[in-house]
Each structure stands twice: as structure tokens, then as C-alpha cells.
């Protein structure tokens, strides 16, 4: 069974709706209940903050006790004096389990049923596949294949017709009687005479073809080095959709450089570990992908601490957005000063499981935006542009674009 992507908020909302409606929860909702209530402290097959839940029914003396414990464990500890429960309490640093008075017996039964039937996710999805692979500069026009094929066909046709003509002629020479049997030879002139009559049409076609060839060359040349749509396989199957889309983590929480400097910065692993110290399992690939972080940084998930003297291995991400060396681009200028949304250049990244290059990153694309984008002229830096402020005040101009303050000049980006 494949887990659906983490939907904690949805479940909570659903729960509230259900509770208000007063419906009892059905057993097949065990998974949802587990995720909503238990998953933050328990895993089924391993220890997290609390013990692993697998085989829980066998460990407890009676199911009744278990239900009572789940509903209110401090009260249970106080009243029942159950040695198993006390031992459990001691083992987990005398931290009682949160009380769940809102869960009915049917709910608990559903959760337990889910626990019993739980199958760990398989690791099939992770691991395989080349990381990298060359970036492709868009698809190849099929005409590129057709044209040579056509040419070959024409050459073959001419050659064959000549050969056949020669054969027929020689046969006729040897045996004049065969003329009746053999087909009449049509000379090339007769056959292609039609083309001679339509010289201008042919000329037009030739010009058309030449234009097309040069046009294609031009397109090909300008798109050289551009990688729109480039979507390489990354060493870790990190999903922006899960992190930025579903879990709504702010872009700048991880990309710390976006407001500070030139690069938005691919997050260092210590940022990943802020959350992944606790979250060791993902909805899609289970533990395999997150384990790669642990392997790089030297985190012992079992013991819950860093391995001492571990030789850390940096993650070698494939760079998707590549600007030529002669272009200077600064994220902070655009994000902090310009207040531009990440999505403007990177596309709806919050919907991408696997990131691809959304924009062409061509100079024309940059310039187009610089022509349209209005400058936040309230920034005190721009008070030096008195003439423009005056015009704004007079209503001579409505706004100032980036181009209006020299944002399309060479040395704004090339130096």
C-alpha cells in the first residue's frame, strides 16, 4: 500500500468536520487517525519518542488496560498500578504519554487494526537511476531527419530509373523483338521536363527551403547553452512540492542567501537536520532518501545523535540554473530590494516534485522583465534620482521601470 503524501492539516480539518457531524469513525480510517494523533511520537516498526507500536496488543495484559492508558495515561499510572505501565514510564524518562480523551474505543480499535496490518514501504523507488546526464537543449525538429531521408530517396529513384532504363535499352539491343514486351523507356528529360517548365515554382521552393534551413540554424545557435526544462535526476529525491507546497515551509528558511547575497544558496545539511533529526521517514520513499542526509552528515538515527569524528560527505547536487560566467546575477537585489517572488523566475516550484528549469534564462528574458518591472521608488537609495521623482510628482510618468534607471545597460550585469 502506498502512503499518500503527508496530509496532517487535512486530517485535522477532516476530523473536526467529522466530529461536528457526530459520525463515528470507521475502522478504515485507522491510518488517518494514526497519523493525526500518534505519528508525532510513535512509529510502527521503530522507536521514536515513544516505543514502536508493532505487537502492542500482545504486550499489554488486556485490551481494556491499553485503551484506558491511551485515553489518559497519567490517570492510568496513578490508579491501576500496572507494573508494565510503570516500567514503560520509567524507560521513557518519566514522560507520560499525552492523554487522548477525544478518542473513542472504535477509534482506538481502528488505529490498532492499522498497526497490526501495517506493511513497511518498499525502497523500490529510491537508489536507481543515473544522477546527472547531460542537459538537453530542447527537442530536435523531426524535419532534420526527414530531409536527408527524402534526399536519399530522390537519389535512389533517379539511380534506379537510370539503371532500369539502361537494362531495358541493352535488352532491346540484343533482342529487338522484345520491344513489344518491355516497357517504353522514358528519358530523364521527358520524366522531369515538368520541372523545367515550372522553374519559378522550383526557385520559390528552393528559397523556402534555404530560409527554413537558415532559420533553424539561427534558432539552434541562439538556444545554444540554454537549458529550459532541464530536469536532471538529483542525488537525493528531494521534493519541493512536499516541503514548500504541502508543508508550506518558507523558501528562505532553507535558501538563506536569497536576501543576503549573490547566491540563494543550496541549503547546507545542518539546515536539513533542523527538521530531519525528528523526521526520519518521508511519505514517498520512506527512510531511504532521508538516510542519505544522515549518511552525509553522520547522524545515527538509532541512537539519535551525531557520530563522533565522522568523515562528512557533502551532497553533490546537480546545478540546474546555470548562468554564463560573464553574467553577474545577485539574488538579494531581486528578492530583497526588488521584492520579486521566487516563482517569477523559478516557476511554481511548490508544485514540482522534481525541479526543472522553468525560465529560459536568456538575456532577452531578463531584459523583458527589466523593461516591465516597476522600481520601488520609496527606497531611500533612489532619492538621488531627483529628476525622476519630480516627474512622478508632476504626473509626467506613472512609474519608473528598471529600464528607466539604466537597468538594461551592459554593465549592470556584465563585468
Amino acid at each position: 500500500m502506498k502512503l499518500k503524501t503527508g496530509s496532517f492539516p487535512n486530517v485535522v480539518i477532516l476530523m473536526i468536520i467529522l466530529l461536528i457531524a457526530g459520525f463515528s469513525v470507521k475502522a478504515q480510517d485507522g491510518e488517518k487517525l494514526f497519523k493525526a494523533n500518534c505519528a508525532s511520537c510513535h512509529k510502527i516498526d521503530k522507536k521514536l519518542i515513544g516505543p514502536a507500536l508493532q505487537g502492542i496488543r500482545d504486550r499489554w495484559e488486556s485490551e481494556e488496560n491499553l485503551y484506558a492508558w491511551i485515553k489518559n495515561s497519567p490517570k492510568y499510572l496513578e490508579e491501576m498500578n500496572d507494573p508494565y505501565a510503570t516500567a514503560l514510564f520509567e524507560e521513557y524518562n518519566k514522560t507520560p504519554m499525552t492523554a487522548f480523551p477525544q478518542l473513542g474505543d472504535a477509534d482506538i480499535a481502528a488505529v490498532l487494526e492499522y498497526v497490526d496490518n501495517y506493511q513497511p514501504p518498499t525502497a523500490s523507488a529510491g537508489g536507481e537511476g543515473e544522477t546527472g546526464g547531460a542537459a538537453q537543449g530542447g527537442g530536435v525538429d523531426p524535419l532534420w531527419f526527414l530531409l536527408p531521408a527524402l534526399l536519399v530517396l530522390i537519389v535512389l529513384a533517379v539511380a534506379f530509373s537510370k539503371a532500369i532504363g539502361a537494362l531495358i535499352n541493352s535488352a532491346k539491343e540484343k533482342d529487338p523483338d522484345s520491344e513489344k514486351v518491355l516497357p517504353k523507356v522514358i528519358s530523364l528529360k521527358e520524366r522531369f521536363g515538368i520541372f523545367l517548365k515550372h522553374r519559378f515554382t522550383i526557385l520559390a521552393i528552393v528559397i523556402f527551403v534555404l530560409c527554413w534551413v537558415f532559420g533553424s540554424l539561427w534558432d539552434g545557435a541562439t538556444s545554444l547553452g540554454r537549458q529550459e526544462g532541464y530536469q536532471p535526476a538529483q542525488p537525493i529525491k528531494f521534493s519541493h512540492k512536499l516541503h514548500a507546497g504541502i508543508n508550506k515551509i518558507d523558501c528562505k528558511y532553507c535558501h538563506v542567501g536569497a536576501e543576503k547575497g549573490k547566491a540563494s544558496v543550496i541549503p547546507s545539511l545542518n539546515i536539513c537536520m533542523n527538521c530531519h533529526m525528528a523526521v526520519s521517514e518521508g511519505p514517498e520513499y520512506g527512510t531511504t532518501e532521508i538516510a542519505k542526509i544522515y549518511d552525509a552528515v553522520g547522524w545515527d538515527a538509532e541512537k539519535g545523535k551525531y557520530i563522533e569524528d565522522y568523515e562528512q560527505k557533502p551532497i553533490e547536487w546537480i546545478k540546474i540554473h546555470n548562468l554564463p560566467d560573464h553574467v553577474y546575477f545577485n539574488h538579494s537585489q531581486h528578492v530583497k530590494v526588488g521584492g520579486i517572488e521566487c516563482q517569477k523566475c523559478h516557476g511554481s516550484i511548490e508544485e514540482m516534485d522534481e525541479v526543472y528549469q522553468h525560465a529560459p534564462l536568456s538575456m532577452g528574458w531578463c531584459i523583458d522583465c527589466h523593461r516591465e518591472t516597476k522600481v520601488n521608488f520609496d527606497n531611500k537609495y533612489y532619492s538621488d534620482y531627483e529628476a525622476l521623482h519630480e516627474k512622478l510628482k508632476n504626473g509626467e510618468i506613472e512609474n519608473v521601470t528598471v529600464e528607466g534607471i539604466g537597468g538594461t545597460e551592459c554593465q549592470k550585469c556584465h563585468y
Binding site: A134, A135, S268, E386, A387, Y415
Partner: protein, 1022 residues
């Protein structure tokens, strides 16, 4: 000949038609078709239309093939654990200290992603700038030829092993009771000196011998004799109204040359309201940087210095009414300059300075006597407080004797290279072989290190902790800015280990030392950790160190009788240091090798400078036609039993019958860049009165008949300023300035927008439209020191091209310092010099922009002349059309994989060279490829960064927020950059100064660089 005319080279002064032609041409050679596929024998171009089509077809198909290749996969590898302070793409600055026994400078190290890329000035130290060597020092860090670990007998060895071996040997020496000698460069670090002291306390046979390649023993011993303390004096040039120098290069190669420049220039900025400036009279044989900046300069042969100084003493003694030195023959120099100097010094008693570059103790004592007569001590001279030089020639000589008599059991060599730089290096090398334990801490396998048994390389200063106290009360810290690149270890830690000290970590040792000795001298901070953190953060710290008052006591008359007198007959040899190369320790730094000498404008060599008169009369060189050609006559110079062959360079202003040769060349174990460049001149030094004198007498010269090509840029990129009204370099005398402050520049017709604007494009209107970047250069302040050239190289990834390429006029420097002379070329006493930094003028009506067929160079709304490298197709029309000749063409892929090495003799290289050398590149500046033009961009990357910071902080851009690299390192404040749209900015004020003009103003290029005319403090009516 017109005495008011400026000229740049001897040939130009003498009227060489070839030089006139060079001035007309931007490019000095025809296109290199002489050895290509398109030529037949004889060099005629024989390419038919068919050949052209073939080549064209090939190029197109090759390009198509290349284009269909896949785009390579690029990786982005983030930190595993990112250090909190690092933001990739943002520079971090760390305060540190450059102190190598020769130069001292408190610096800020600019690092990017953990690697140092630029050295900047630490404002907190009060310094304005650094010198060229400090600027270039960042490349020393990435020198692949530093030792990569310890070595024993030339074989690699681990540090544990070497510690064991040296430990055992050392123990044996200690037990035998033989002397243990540390031969070191001047040490400014109090902690290191303390380690030496600890060492001495533990092992009583330890001796510390300090050795300076270019010795100041004479001065040190004179101070010891006069004041009882063996230190240098501190000169305050900002208090000196009259300065008299005798071969003293105090603005250039002296210790703290840049501090001196800064103070000196405060007295040399006359204004219309206060038209006063100091007066500088200089006597010397070779044209030095300092001499070239003097108001009155007279030539003096090196051997006459003693007599000249004694004459000056006697002149002043008459005025002061004290006893004269008897039996001193009278001597006078051109223009009665000694008499003038005496008179003016006496008029400015207590506000004057007399300085001598002599290394003769007795001469220096007389100089001290003069300053004492003038009452300068306590006013313009702080008595003996500077520790910048501590070397002793006597001690080094005694060491050699001591080794030869078998007294020395162990010799530790730290940061000195006596096998190269000692005049009697042969003797030293012989002696070293007799010592049982020899260890060198030098950074590379240099001449000395290859003589010793163990090499234990020290860190580069950018990798190490250290401290320094150059003068009393002033302390500074060196902090590491990168992990050690190679397996090196601080010298101090090695010594601490071998002496089984309690603390073997040098960092800890420094902290302990500071806690005990520096922390206690201040009261501002009560907590040591806070004090230490502040010291490391600021880099410099001043504390109350008690300064003893010292009284002058010396019997000048008696001592002066020991001064060697010479009548100055015969040919003499002067040995001097160059601004870039210094004593030769950084020979392997290509930035310094390619830095044109400010005076001779030569790169990658040393040579024999002779006066034009000597060249024509004795050597028989026709100075009209042969002075400026690159193939120079080679002469053999012999003196003191040593001889070398060097090319002749005709130097205006050189004393007649003297030859000047730069020290610091002829290295054999420096590395790829430095080996075999020039000839070693150290063996020419003469021992007089127990110290090494930097001159020789009894010199013999023979013509060899050989020719040698020098990479001189003297005749490259000369402005064509010959037409009568052309405005290139303007100067005037102080007297004229007083009469009419704008006299020098008012003849220039001021073109205004209304009357003369004829151009293809509209004149841009900058007012109220953001910024209008501009620069003001004060020709009165520029000494020509060339620190800006190196700073620009490092900041803007300007390639080093190598000697061959420089000789072909392919050098790439974005800023050049044009040096102009005035006067009669044959009369060395009449020569006046001036320096003019020349970089892209960012003309508002730029001739280059109009001719670019692809608009690769055009104008920005902020007044910048922009150059888009990726748009340039290399027609070089712009360079041809630039009247300032500041555009440079990339004839080859200078910055490619070959980096710095391929253009210098040796093409054998490994990946490490290229990878490591390229670490110094500034990641914010494009590395230019072959076939494009480049030029000064006004450090546009800094402009953009400054603007962005202001925007991010939501504030107006302040004047001074943006400093170009050249402005930032200028000790003299000669270059000021800023926004002309801001009426309060410094540059706006300087633009309105009455001395300001634009070069070639009459061409109506409307440059954005203003020059302020030079004022010479000449008493005569000139």
C-alpha cells in the same frame, strides 16, 4: 630644446623619428600574418578567395560540430555544516598584519568562501594605503612552489619523523655545549622574540643573529652611539617644512615607505587660500622614486655622500656657532644646492629633516648630529622607537667566522636567504656545510634551504597566527584567513616543540604573552577575553608603553674623522632596491615581476642604468636613434672581484660616471617565475667600516658586443602630446601658483556644452538622474609608487602576460603610471620628473564608442564607459581611436589553463599550478577570453556592490561608500573616486579646484577623470 616640454623617453627628448612614429600608433606591430597558413615564403599574404572559402567552410563546420556537443553537467556542492558567518557570494574581511621583516602593514584580508583574494587597508591602523608588495602578497599564498611539507636532505618526511631526528641532533648539540644560532630576519613579533628569549634562557648557548638582506646596520649603530638604543628613528614628515635627502629612498623602499608618503603628502597640498608646501631637496646618483619627487635634485656620486653630509654639517655649524669638522674638503653640487639646503634647513630649525640612505655608521652619526643641530629630535623625529630593522652586518660576519672555527653546532634559519643575498655568500655556503644541525624555516626550497639538512617550512602569513609591535605602544595581530594549504607548520611551534616547552601551540603562546604583557598596559578593557577579541577584530591596538626620553650624546667632530673621504673620481656602481622587487624575496611573484618600475618602466629584468652623457660619450651609443630600441647593448661590469653582464638602460637624471643596478634579481632557486630573471648584484656590495655599503668604486666596464631584449613599456602607449596646445601633463612652480593658482590650466580652452558639442549621440544628462561617476587624480600627490597597479591587477583579474609579451607591447595593465621628464636630457641635474596615472577616462563623448561596429563599448546612464566582453568581436577599432591609449587587447588566452606560467621561459606545468594560482581570481569579475578588448571599468563591481548595499539598507549612497581598488591603496590619497552628481562629494570639490584639468581636453572627449596640475616648490622664477 624647449625646457618646458615634457618627454617620456630619451629618444623622444633627442628627437628619434621612430619614437614619433610609435606615438602615432596604438598597435606597434602588424598583424602576425608572417607565420601563418595563409602565407608563402617571404611573408607575403597569399591567400586566394578559394583559401578563404575553405577556411570559412571549415570554421563553420567545426563550429557546428562543437555546438552540437552536450552541455556539461555542473554540480553545486553546499557546505555540510555551514559556518554561521559565511554567506556564499559575500566577502568577509578579517583584520590581520603583514610583517615579513621587510614590510609591515596592518591589513584587511578580503576572503570569499574561505579563500583570501585581496589585501585591503585596515582603516583602524590610521594608514591610507599599502605598498605594491603587500598588494601582491595574496598571490604568494597560492604559489605552488612553496614547500609542501617537511624535508630532510631533500626528501619528504613527516613532521613526527623530522621532530624525532632534529630532537635527537639538537640534544647532542646541547650536550656538546656548542653554540646554537638562530639566523633570522627582523622580527617584529614580541611573542616570537619572547620564544627566542625562552630558548636562550633554557639553553645558554643559543644566539640570535638578525640579518637584513638590505642592511640598515649603519643607521641602527649610529642611533646606538648617539642615543644608546639600537633602533630606527621615527620620522614625522607632516612636521617637516624642509626635507633634505642624501640617497634616502624614504618614500619608496625604506621601511614604512607608505607611512612616510602619507605624512609627506600632508605638507604638499597647496590650496589657493594657503599656498604652502614643504620643500624637498635631494642628492643622489641613481634616479630613485623619492628623488624623482624632489623639488630640487642634484646628482651626487655614492662615494661623495660622506663628504657632502660633512659639508652640510659644517655649513650648519657655522650658522649654529659650534665647532666644525676639520679637514673636510669643500664640495658643492649643481645649482649651489648644498648651500641652498643649509640655508633653508636653518630657516626651518625644528621643522626639518635630514636623511641619508648610507649604511655607513659614521656618516649616519653625522646625519644625527645635523638633525640634533637643527633641533629636530623630539619635533620631527621621534628618537629611536621603530623596530622595523634590527639586522647587524657585524653579527652575521662574526657568525661565519664562528662557524669556521667550529663553535656552532646548530643553525636555524628563519625567513632569510643569505646564500643568495649575502655579498660573501660563497663564504657562508662553505661555512654552513660545517654545521652539524642545519634547519631552514623558509617557505620554499630557495638558495639557502637547499644548502641545509632539514627544511621545516613556516606557514604563509595568511595561514598563521602572529603578532607584531613595530613601534613602542603599537601592537597588531596576524590572524589566519584560510586553512594551511600545504603541510606547513609555524616556525614558532617548531621551536617550542624542539625545546619541550610547556605550551607548544603558538596561538596559545601569543594569548598568554598578551595577557601578561599587553593586557596589563591598558585599562580600557578589564576582561582579557574581551580585550583579546577586540584586538583580533581591530587588528591593531595602542597601549601606553613608557617611552624613555633619550639625550643626544656623540662627539661628531671626532667620529667624522673616520668617514672615508673620496674625491669621486672614476666610475662608481650604485646598488638599489626596486619598488616592486625589493630585496628579491618575492621573485616568484609574477605580479611584481611584471610591475613596471616607476622610473625606468622596465619589467622582468634588472639592467645597468647609465646617464645619457655616459652612454653617448663612453659607450658610444647614439642616443638619438638607439636609446629606445628594445635590443640593448650588453656590457660587462666588474667590481669587487665580481662581474656580470647586463643590458644598458639610458636613465635621464643618473649621475654621470655612475652605473645603477637593482638588487633582488638573478635568483636561481626562487621558482618558475623568478628563476633566471636578471643578474644577482649583491656580490658588488662593499664592506666599509664593518657594514655593507650599497655602492662600489673602482668599477670596470667592457662592451661585449652582445644585444639583449628588454621588456620596456617606456615607449608603449605614449600619448601623442606633441602639438603645441595639447594638454597632457601640466605643472607649475609654487611661485607661479601663488600668483595665479589656475595659471597652469587656464590656457586650456574650457569647452562647454553649448559651444562645441558635436557628436553622434546626445550628450547624456546625468543631473538628478542617479550618479555620475568620476575620478580626480592629484599629480602633486602621486609619487609613482605603483601600488595601485598591483591592486588593480588583483581586483580585476588582470592577466600577467610574461616578458616576451610585454616586449611586444601586449601588457594588459588597466592603469599605467606615465612618467614624464622635463629638462635637458644630457644634463642630469636639470631633470624634473612627474607621474601621471592613466586609466580609462570614461569620456562622456568617447571616441571609442562611436567606432565599435557591434556596440560592445557604450555609455551608461551613470557616466561609465562600459565594455561588454561577451559582445566584443575584437576589431580593436576602439583601441585605435582612443587618444589615451588605455584599451588592452587579449592577444592570447592569458588567463586560461596556462595561468601565469606559460609565458615565462617554462612551459612545463602541472594541474596544481593552474588550479592553485587561479584561487586568487576575484569571482565577481569576468575572466576575459582571447580576442576581446578590456580596460579600466572604474571597478564597476564595487560600484554595483555599494549601490546594492545602500538599497538593502534603505539609505542614500554616501560619499566614500565606493572606493576603487586604486584609490583604496593609495597612501598619498592621490586618487579620489566619487559621484559628481553629489555636490558635497570629495570628487565634486576637487573637480572645482583651480588646478583641475582634463587630459586632451581640447579633443572634447569630456573625460570623467580630472587631473590636478603638479606644483613644484621652486624658488626660482621658473
Amino acid at each position: 630644446m624647449n625646457q618646458d616640454k615634457h618627454w617620456q623617453s630619451v629618444g623622444e627628448a633627442a628627437g628619434d623619428p621612430a619614437v614619433e612614429q610609435l606615438k602615432k600608433n596604438e598597435f606597434q606591430e602588424k598583424l602576425p600574418f608572417d607565420a601563418g597558413v595563409l602565407t608563402e615564403e617571404g611573408g607575403n599574404v597569399n591567400a586566394s578567395r578559394r583559401d578563404f572559402l575553405k577556411m570559412f567552410g571549415f570554421s563553420v563546420s567545426a563550429a557546428t560540430l562543437a555546438a552540437s556537443c552536450e552541455i556539461p553537467v555542473r554540480k553545486a556542492i553546499p557546505y555540510v555544516i555551514k559556518p554561521e558567518e559565511v554567506t556564499p557570494g559575500k566577502a568577509l574581511h578579517y583584520a590581520s598584519t603583514f610583517s615579513d621583516g621587510s614590510d609591515y602593514c596592518s591589513v584587511l584580508v578580503k576572503t570569499r568562501e574561505g579563500r583570501p583574494i585581496k589585501i585591503e587597508v585596515n582603516d583602524k591602523s590610521g594608514a591610507n594605503g599599502t605598498n605594491a608588495r603587500v598588494q601582491a602578497s595574496v598571490l604568494n599564498l597560492y604559489d605552488a612552489e612553496r614547500l609542501r611539507g617537511a624535508k630532510a636532505m631533500g626528501e619528504d618526511i613527516s613532521w613526527e619523523e623530522v621532530d624525532k631526528k632534529i630532537g635527537a641532533d639538537f640534544k647532542a648539540v646541547v650536550e656538546s655545549g656548542q653554540e646554537i644560532v638562530i639566523l633570522t630576519a627582523t622580527i617584529l613579533s614580541p611573542s616570537t622574540r619572547n620564544i627566542f628569549a625562552d630558548f636562550q634562557a633554557k639553553y645558554p648557548t643559543v644566539k640570535v643573529v638578525t640579518y637584513d638582506a638590505v642592511s640598515y646596520s649603519g643607521m641602527l649603530e649610529a642611533n646606538e652611539a648617539c642615543f644608546g638604543v639600537r633602533n630606527l628613528s621615527q620620522y614625522d614628515f607632516s612636521k617637516a617644512k624642509t626635507i633634505v635627502g642624501f640617497a634616502a629612498d624614504f618614500l619608496g623602499t625604506w621601511p614604512t615607505g607608505e607611512e612616510n608618503t602619507q605624512a609627506y603628502m600632508t605638507m604638499r597640498r597647496p590650496t589657493a587660500k594657503n599656498p604652502k608646501m614643504s620643500r624637498h631637496i635631494h642628492f643622489e646618483a641613481g634616479m630613485s622614486l623619492t628623488g624623482s619627487n624632489a623639488d630640487l635634485r642634484a646628482t651626487m656620486k655614492p662615494s661623495q655622500e660622506g663628504m657632502a653630509i660633512m659639508n652640510l654639517y659644517n655649513n650648519l655649524a657655522v650658522l649654529a656657532g659650534v665647532e666644525q669638522i676639520p679637514n673636510v674638503p669643500k664640495i658643492e653640487f649643481a645649482g649651489n644646492s648644498l648651500g641652498v639646503a643649509s640655508k633653508e634647513l636653518w630657516e626651518n630649525k625644528g621643522e626639518s629633516l635630514v636623511l641619508s640612505g648610507s649604511n655607513d655608521t659614521n656618516i649616519q652619526i653625522v646625519v644625527n648630529g645635523i638633525n640634533n643641530l637643527l633641533g629636530n629630535y623630539g619635533n620631527s623625529i621621534m628618537v629611536a622607537e621603530s623596530a622595523h630593522r634590527q639586522g647587524s652586518d657585524k653579527a652575521v660576519n662574526e657568525l661565519i667566522d664562528s662557524i669556521n672555527s667550529g663553535n656552532v653546532g646548530a643553525l636555524f634559519i628563519n625567513n632569510v636567504n643569505p646564500s643568495y643575498s649575502l655579498p660573501n655568500a660563497d663564504k657562508f655556503n662553505e661555512a654552513v656545510k660545517k654545521v652539524g644541525l642545519t634547519v631552514s624555516f623558509n617557505e620554499r626550497m630557495d638558495e639557502t634551504t637547499s644548502m641545509v639538512k632539514y627544511a621545516c617550512p613556516d606557514h604563509n602569513y595568511l595561514e598563521a597566527w602572529n603578532d607584531a609591535s613595530p613601534v613602542k605602544g603599537q601592537y597588531s595581530i596576524t590572524q589566519p584567513t584560510i586553512q594551511p594549504i600545504f603541510k606547513t607548520r609555524p616556525m614558532q611551534e617548531s621551536l617550542l616543540k624542539w625545546s619541550d616547552a610547556e605550551v607548544t601551540n603558538y596561538y596559545e603562546y601569543i594569548q598568554n604573552y598578551w595577557q601578561a604583557n599587553v593586557f596589563t598596559k591598558q585599562s580600557a578593557e578589564s576582561n582579557f577575553q574581551n580585550f583579546w577579541d577586540k584586538a583580533v577584530h581591530d587588528g591593531v591596538m595602542r597601549v601606553e608603553d613608557e617611552i624613555e626620553s633619550r639625550e643626544f650624546s656623540a662627539n661628531i667632530v671626532e667620529i667624522a674623522s673616520n668617514v672615508k673621504l673620496s674625491n669621486g673620481d672614476g666610475l662608481e656602481l650604485l646598488l638599489y632596491e626596486k619598488m616592486g622587487m625589493g630585496d628579491g624575496r618575492y621573485s616568484n611573484n609574477p605580479f611584481l615581476q611584471e610591475l613596471p618600475d616607476p622610473i625606468t618602466r622596465a619589467t622582468w629584468d634588472n639592467y645597468a642604468c647609465v646617464s645619457p652623457k655616459y652612454a653617448s660619450e663612453v659607450l658610444g651609443i647614439n642616443i638619438k636613434t638607439e636609446a629606445d630600441i628594445r635590443e640593448k647593448d650588453v656590457i660587462k661590469i666588474s667590481a669587487n672581484g665580481y662581474s656580470i653582464e647586463l643590458p644598458v638602460l639610458i636613465q635621464p637624471g643618473q649621475a654621470n660616471n655612475t652605473i645603477a643596478i637593482a638588487l633582488g634579481y638573478g635568483r636561481t632557486h626562487a621558482g618558475r617565475a623568478g628563476n633566471g630573471v636578471g643578474q644577482n648584484a649583491y656580490p658588488f656590495l662593499s664592506m666599509i667600516n664593518g657594514t655593507w655599503q650599497r655602492y662600489a668604486t673602482g668599477v670596470k666596464v667592457e662592451k661585449t658586443g652582445k644585444k639583449y631584449k628588454l621588456a620596456l613599456i617606456q615607449t608603449q602607449y605614449m600619448l601623442d602630446g606633441d602639438l603645441p596646445d595639447r594638454t597632457v601633463l601640466k605643472d607649475m612652480s609654487l611661485a607661479a601658483y601663488k600668483k595665479n593658482p589656475s595659471g597652469a590650466v587656464e590656457k586650456i580652452k574650457k569647452y562647454t556644452e553649448s559651444d562645441h558639442f558635436v557628436a553622434i549621440y546626445d550628450k547624456p544628462d546625468y543631473r538628478g538622474n542617479g550618479h555620475h561617476w568620476a575620478m580626480a587624480v592629484d599629480l602633486n600627490a602621486c609619487t609613482g609608487c605603483s601600488a595601485c597597479v598591483v591592486a588593480c591587477n588583483v581586483e580585476n583579474n588582470v592577466p600577467v602576460v610574461g616578458k616576451e609579451e610585454v616586449a611586444r607591447a601586449h601588457e594588459m595593465h588597466w592603469i599605467r603610471i606615465d612618467r614624464y621628464y622635463k629638462g635637458d636630457v644630457m644634463d642630469s641635474d636639470s631633470i624634473e620628473s612627474a607621474y601621471q596615472p592613466m586609466m580609462c577616462q570614461h569620456c562622456d563623448n568617447a571616441p571609442c564608442e562611436n567606432v565599435c561596429p557591434v556596440a560592445a563599448t557604450n555609455h551608461s546612464s551613470e557616466g561609465l564607459n562600459q565594455m561588454a566582453y561577451n559582445r566584443c568581436i575584437g576589431t580593436r577599432y576602439c583601441a585605435n581611436n582612443c587618444p589615451y591609449k588605455v584599451r588592452r587587447f587579449n592577444w592570447f588566452d592569458y588567463m586560461g589553463a596556462d595561468s601565469f606560467y606559460i609565458y615565462n621561459n617554462d612551459t612545463d606545468k602541472t594541474d596544481t599550478y593552474t588550479e592553485l594560482g587561479r584561487m586568487v581570481l576575484n569571482p565577481d569579475v569576468t575572466v576575459r577570453s582571447r580576442g576581446v578588448i578590456e580596460k579600466c571599468s572604474f571597478c564597476v563591481q564595487r560600484i554595483q556592490e555599494g549601490k546594492l548595499n545602500a538599497k538593502k539598507e534603505n539609505r542614500k549612497l554616501a560619499d566614500g561608500d565606493i572606493k576603487t581598488a586604486c584609490m583604496q591603496v593609495c597612501s598619498a590619497n592621490a586618487i579620489v573616486f566619487g559621484d559628481l552628481n553629489d555636490p558635497k562629494s570629495e570628487v565634486s570639490k576637487l573637480y572645482k579646484n583651480e588646478r583641475t584639468y582634463n587630459v586632451l581636453e581640447e579633443m572634447h572627449t569630456l573625460p570623467s577623470v580630472g587631473y590636478m596640475a603638479k606644483v613644484r616648490n621652486k624658488k626660482e622664477n621658473a
